[in-house]
């Protein structure tokens, strides 16, 4: 069996996250709670506040405590995956298996919380709401959540990386027209950074935010008011 390129980038991103966690752990151990936070500690406090604020707006205190770590780590993972195109490795989120499994986790969480807060009877009943005839449509809407969550992330990242590939090829052939210095793709050096900023950094950050917000919103929708 042949290994895909993405396997190595998944391992690279995971390694970066592990190193990051060890660094944060070390600086948190050294951190004096009475002093003013700065550097890595301040960054982590801001991230945790952000995730907790988002979860508290949509769900309750208990779920914030349960889901906070998962949402936070998923956010870091998706963001690092999306911007890993800057290191010219294939982004893990440009592989449909990765985004499908991330979306599948969200869908399982939605079902689990629906079951937990409505009870078994209420959970079964939620498939036949508002009237029993709509059962097939409710079933389709469950599947479409999975499809839209995974395809949105995958489509955005993969279209960005394919467009960058096409633009690099085009710039290389244009700069090849110039005689002596044409072999070096100097147009790419001038034009590509701005596009990298948009396709990798901006789209990556945006899609991370959207994935997390939609996950939290879908889970919060299952709770009683």
């Amino acid at each position: 069996m042949e290994l895909q390129n993405t396997v190595f980038s998944i391992l690279a991103v995971s390694a970066i996250i592990i190193v990051l966690i060890l660094l944060v752990n070390r600086s948190l151990r050294k951190f004096d709670p009475l002093s003013e936070p700065k550097g890595l500690v301040l960054l982590m406090i801001m991230l945790i506040r952000f995730v907790e604020g988002m979860l508290k707006d949509e769900t309750n205190e208990k779920i914030t405590e349960e889901l906070g770590p998962y949402i936070g780590v998923t956010m870091i993972y998706i963001f690092l995956s999306n911007i890993s195109g800057l290191l010219s490795i294939e982004p893990p989120t440009a592989n449909f298996s990765v985004t499908l499994s991330l979306a599948a986790i969200t869908c399982i969480l939605i079902e689990v919380y629906s079951w937990k807060y409505r009870g078994f009877k209420g959970y079964l009943k939620s498939y036949f709401e508002p009237i029993a005839v709509l059962f097939p449509i409710n079933l389709i809407s469950k599947v479409s959540t999975l499809a839209s969550l995974s395809l949105r992330l995958f489509g955005n990242i993969v279209s960005g990386s394919i467009l960058m590939m096409v633009i690099y090829a085009m710039l290389a052939s244009v700069s090849g027209l110039i005689p002596v210095i044409g072999n070096f793709n100097f147009l790419g050096v001038i034009v590509a950074p701005a596009l990298h900023f948009y396709f990798d950094l901006f789209a990556g950050l945006m899609q991370t935010y959207i994935f997390i917000t939609l996950s939290i919103t879908f889970i919060g929708k299952e709770l009683p008011d």
Binding site: L151, R152, M206, I210, T213, L214, T217
Partner: protein, 76 residues
């Protein structure tokens, strides 16, 4: 001949983006209008606008995906 037809098919499926562009612009327009009317609710309006734009973008992304499938599966 066949390659040209595949290219035309891919271009047609990407045309879902035309209407999606208008839809997303409407989301942004309404968000700006309501922030103008009610500046205190700017935070809530911003997150709602992003979610709305993301959901309406799904349609264009399905079209893009089908274009990729046409190019890489049929055209390979």
């Amino acid at each position: 001949m066949e390659k040209g037809l595949i290219a035309i098919a891919a271009a047609l499926s990407v045309m879902t983006g035309m209407v999606t562009g208008i839809g997303e612009a409407r989301v942004a327009q309404q968000a700006v209008e309501s922030i103008g009317k009610n500046p205190d609710a700017a935070d809530q309006i911003r997150s709602m606008a992003i979610i709305g734009a993301a959901i309406s973008e799904t349609c264009a992304i399905y079209g893009l995906l089908i274009a990729f499938l046409i190019i890489f599966v049929l055209g390979a």
